[in-house]
Amino acid sequence: MCGLCGCGGTATTQQHSDDASESHEHAHGGGVWHEHHEGSVGLAPGHAHASGLLVRRMIQIEHDLLAKNQRYADTNRGDLGGRGIFALNMMSSPGAGKTTLLVRTIEALKARFPVVVIEGDQQTDRDAERIRLTGVPVRQINTGKGCHLDAHMVGHALSDLKPADESLLFIENVGNLVCPAGFDLGEARRVVVLSVTEGEDKPLKYPDMFRVADLMIVNKVDLLPYVSFDVEACVGFARAVNKGLRTIILSATRGDGLDEWVSWIAQECAQFRAQGVGARV
């Protein structure tokens, strides 16, 4: 159990990432599917009837399922904003080039800003190792079976990392173009990275991710001569889902667009600090 908040979460941070046994398994029993209790559907609020000696009661709740994550996200956002720490939540499918982009970005920015990184993956600290070589502090979160980072895990990683005031914080989410879109981490801006090998129609196929993003990076454009990818159509699809979405065309390996990306970060960071706490939501 976690000493900070008493949680029994299954995610592990880097110091105890080998302890996979912390994750609990839910075994599937044979044939235990949900049953339909037709008689109880649509009962009026407050309806009660006797069931043996016990009284069956209906309880009104009205509780948002994402409320718990949102509370942690709000706490993170308040802590980060209060200390002028500009956080970017970097999301993409696996293999879009997030870590390569991060390494290049850190090299370009570390002389101007203190930089810290939170890495999210289901297993291994390979990405954290790559970031560590740049010399900036990094914390790897292994989500185990989890398909996304949540605000609670990020809060713990921040407690471990203790970033300096006025830092840049890059959070590399678990590679997944679906689930991370639904979980606010307390970040200032959301960036979705799409590589040209994935196809230009991804914004239409996975609209939730592109709808919540502030910036779309079209990465690996050095491969455009070898793949069938229509950049203009891709940007059009993304803007159909998110009208005001900014786009940067980039190659993390060759360097195209890196200056524009670095300028965007500096500009958004300045704007975030001028606006103060809680600018994102």
Binding site: E35, L54, R57, I59, I61, D64, L65, D208
Partner: protein, 112 residues
Amino acid sequence: MHELSLCEDLVQVIEEQARQEHLGRVCGVWLQVGALAGVEAEALRFCFDVVTRGTVAEAAHLEIEAIPGEAFCLLCERSVSVRHFAEVCPGCGGALNLLRGQELRITQMEGE
């Protein structure tokens, strides 16, 4: 499969409510899920059955009320039904403001 972590949070809410209301067993749970909430109802059902095992809500009936997407066009001054975020007003082709369809909430539960 973020439905799994959502169900884990759902079970926490249920257990908390059951404690407050002194319920020994929860036999029914009602959810509202919007068409644009990014959640699959069938995946929720599957995860709910798995995650509730051994809890106060084991074998509870899960009732999911699907909330259709509805948006409003400021130019045409009318509401239209939507299935995706990318949709525009069928009347004028303009942008729409979403009114409902992103709900993801537990509304009531039944227990004894």
